[in-house]
């Protein structure tokens, strides 16, 4: 089954979720307000949308993620490899090794991915 997509902008929200799940809506809203300045309604809307997409689920008023952080990261890499290396993982590795063949945008993209991964791990 394909992992439901998590968009870049939603990533930081998901980080909160992954760290605090299972979490009540109210609590989640409080944290989001703290961290991002989101109004409660904004948080609830995002929760609903992500729930519809299959990223998280609500049971007994508690929200928990259906997609783990690792799954999300993998999906991200998969997507990148698919896009830039026609799905060939070996090609990706080879290219990774020969850094000079990367274009600037590739580098940026990779860097971003790495950063995200690092953020996820470190925080």
């Amino acid at each position: 089954m394909e992992t439901p997509k998590i968009f870049e902008k939603e990533y930081r929200f998901c980080l909160i979720l992954w760290e605090n799940e299972p979490i009540s809506r109210a609590e989640l809203a409080r944290i989001c307000e703290d961290q991002f300045g989101w109004k409660a309604t904004t948080t609830y809307t995002v929760v609903k949308r992500l729930c519809d997409r299959g990223v998280l689920t609500i049971e007994n008023n508690l929200i928990s993620a259906l997609v783990t952080k690792e799954e999300a990261q993998l999906a991200e890499i998969d997507g990148f490899v698919e896009e830039k290396f026609e799905g060939s993982l070996p090609a990706f590795i080879a290219a990774f090794a020969k850094k000079q063949e990367f274009s600037d945008s590739d580098l940026d993209e990779l860097q971003k991915m790495i950063d995200q991964a690092r953020k996820g791990g470190g925080k």
Partner: protein, 556 residues
């Protein structure tokens, strides 16, 4: 059609004045909320569509009629010479000129197809082009909305959607691109829903339709473009109003993500990233809730603009000197007692035209009624016996209201008096007839001018006995019966012949042609100072066969 074009043209120019004012106010009230600006554009829209306006003394509009419609005929310029009084007596024997004649300026008489018609056609074609563009635009967008799925309520997503927009006037829908993250999506939806709540999906097409009518006016284009921008800014304001700084940053990011390569001004969609994304992002990031007093000030400015520019200046009172009101170019006035002629020269005024040529001299009533020449500024005393004539013309029709005043300033003619000026068919002048309308008579001729008797045709002068004799024939009377009598021609689009009888009576025959049965054969009394003219159709048959005779005896 040409009248419509000229109406639109005048509305356009008036609206342009207002556009300039709005541009100024927009600049002054940059800090004010954008919905006020949009109200101002609303005022412009009113001016563009409504040819009428309240007349108030507060109006700052310089004019309401900027361009007068040429008649449907092209111009032919006639430059009459200065008229020598002696020339007049030669040309029209029996006429005495009681005052110097002022020189006439250039006059134009219009005949045939003119520039008005050509311009109207150009205007219509322009509208055609705009409508075609609108149709093509709508079809293209409609096609894009073909393969979309419903997401939530009236929100649809689709692969072919590149940038979010609202489409549809009756059942408007929000169209979003397929892969949007939840956060941007909620901002975009909030913005588009703001559009719907503000009814922008109605105002914008309406604005475009007005632009279609006024496509020739660059100021209106500017207005429309700015209106579109202001609509977007107003929606942003509405959404961002209750957001804190972080949320506004998120919102701007969403704006940035969605800004597309800007295409031409589109008539229909309210695309999220369409108009001036850079400006909008700046506004959103720098948004401050507007101070209360600025809002109040802006609203007051808006109301003031409405009062000053949405109303029209008061119509000039009848007696003031205003070239547009008066349509007599020059009037020769002679002694009324001799009952000869008042000839009114009205070059350019043909009954078919709806606007007469502007006048150069007016008659100002007063203790000493005077002709005031608008070009040279000369004043001349002209009067006809102990009356003088005050003429006011209606520019929409060839109708004149005429008031006869006595020396003393007393008004003589009735409230419903009306003067009709008809050029003589031989082109040698015009005939002025003043009618009074009342409940008892459909129309009563109070005053009329006519050519000198004994001029053209038949030799015999019609007498009352002749009239009585002829009246015996009743409805069998024809034009031919009067063929031997002298008449003067007084009609234009119909035939109207006036047969002089004596000091008291004259006979008037009118009809569509000078053959067969005329429309009217009226025996009329000449006007007297203070009595209305009376008339009777001599073909009338009543219980007593003497009705005509009685009329004659009653009025002798």
């Amino acid at each position: 059609m040409t009248e419509l074009f000229y109406a639109i043209l005048n509305m356009s120019i008036s609206a342009s004045v207002l556009v300039l004012v709005v541009l100024l106010l927009r600049l002054l009230f940059r800090k004010a909320p954008k919905w006020v600006t949009i109200l101002l554009w609303g005022l412009v829209a009113v001016r563009l569509i409504c040819p009428f306006a309240l007349e108030t003394p507060f109006s700052l509009m310089p004019k309401t009629e900027w361009v007068a419609q040429e008649s449907a005929y092209p111009a032919e310029v006639i430059t009459p010479d200065v008229i020598d009084p002696e020339e007049i007596s030669d040309k029209y024997p029996g006429i005495e000129v009681s005052a110097p004649i002022l020189p006439a300026p250039e006059i134009t008489v219009h005949r045939g197809f003119g520039t008005s018609f050509v311009l109207s056609c150009l205007w219509l074609s322009g509208i055609g082009v705009m409508l075609v563009y609108l149709a093509v635009s709508s079809i293209r967008i409609h096609r894009r909305t073909r393969n979309t799925k419903q997401f939530e309520g009236n929100i649809y997503t689709g692969e072919s959607i590149v940038s979010p927009f609202v489409f549809g006037t009756v059942r408007p829908r929000i169209y979003l691109p397929e892969n949007m993250d939840a956060i941007s999506m909620s901002y975009v939806i909030a913005h588009e829903e703001a559009h719907l709540r503000r009814l922008d999906h109605l105002w914008k097409p309406l604005g475009f339709l007005l632009l279609t009518l006024h496509w020739f006016n660059p100021l209106i284009w500017i207005g429309y473009i700015l209106l579109c921008r202001d609509i977007e800014l107003a929606c942003d304001e509405r959404v961002v109003h209750s957001m804190n700084e972080e949320e506004r940053v998120d919102y701007s990011e969403a704006l940035l993500d969605c800004s597309v390569r800007r295409k031409m001004i589109t008539a229909c969609p309210l695309a999220f990233g369409e108009v001036g994304a850079k400006q909008r992002i700046k506004s959103v990031l720098n948004y401050r809730k507007p101070a209360f007093w600025i809002v109040i000030l802006a609203v007051i400015a808006c109301a003031a603009a409405a009062v000053f520019f949405l109303t029209n200046p008061l119509n000039q009172p009848a007696i003031s000197i205003d070239a547009h009101d008066w349509y007599f170019e020059r009037v020769l006035i002679t002694d009324l007692k001799s009952n000869t002629t008042i000839e009114a020269y009205q070059p350019g005024l043909l009954p078919e035209t709806s606007n007469a040529e502007p006048v150069n001299a007016i008659l100002v009533p007063g203790d000493e009624p005077m002709w005031y020449d608008l070009i040279t500024g000369d004043r001349n005393t002209m009067r006809f016996s102990n009356h003088f004539l005050l003429v006011k013309a209606d520019s929409k029709s060839a109708q004149y209201t005429v008031d006869l005043y006595r020396d003393t300033g007393e008004r003589y003619a009735g409230v419903n008096s009306r003067a009709v000026i008809e050029p003589m068919r031989d082109g040698n002048g015009y005939v002025l007839t003043i009618y009074e309308y009342s409940a008892s008579h459909e129309k009563e001729i109070i005053f009329t001018t006519k050519k000198q008797p004994g001029a053209e045709n038949g030799e015999k002068k019609l007498t009352l006995d002749d009239v009585l004799a002829l009246s015996e024939k009743h409805t069998a009377l024809t034009w031919e019966d009067f063929a031997e009598y002298a008449y003067t021609d007084a009609g234009t689009w119909n035939f109207r012949c006036i047969y002089e009888i004596d000091d008291v009576f004259w006979l008037e025959i009118t009809g569509g042609s000078m053959h067969g049965t005329p429309m009217q054969i009226n025996l009329c009394t000449k006007t007297d100072y203070g009595d209305g003219a009376k008339y009777i159709d001599i073909r009338r048959k009543d219980a007593d066969d003497d009705i005509v005779e009685n009329f004659i005896n009653a009025n002798k």
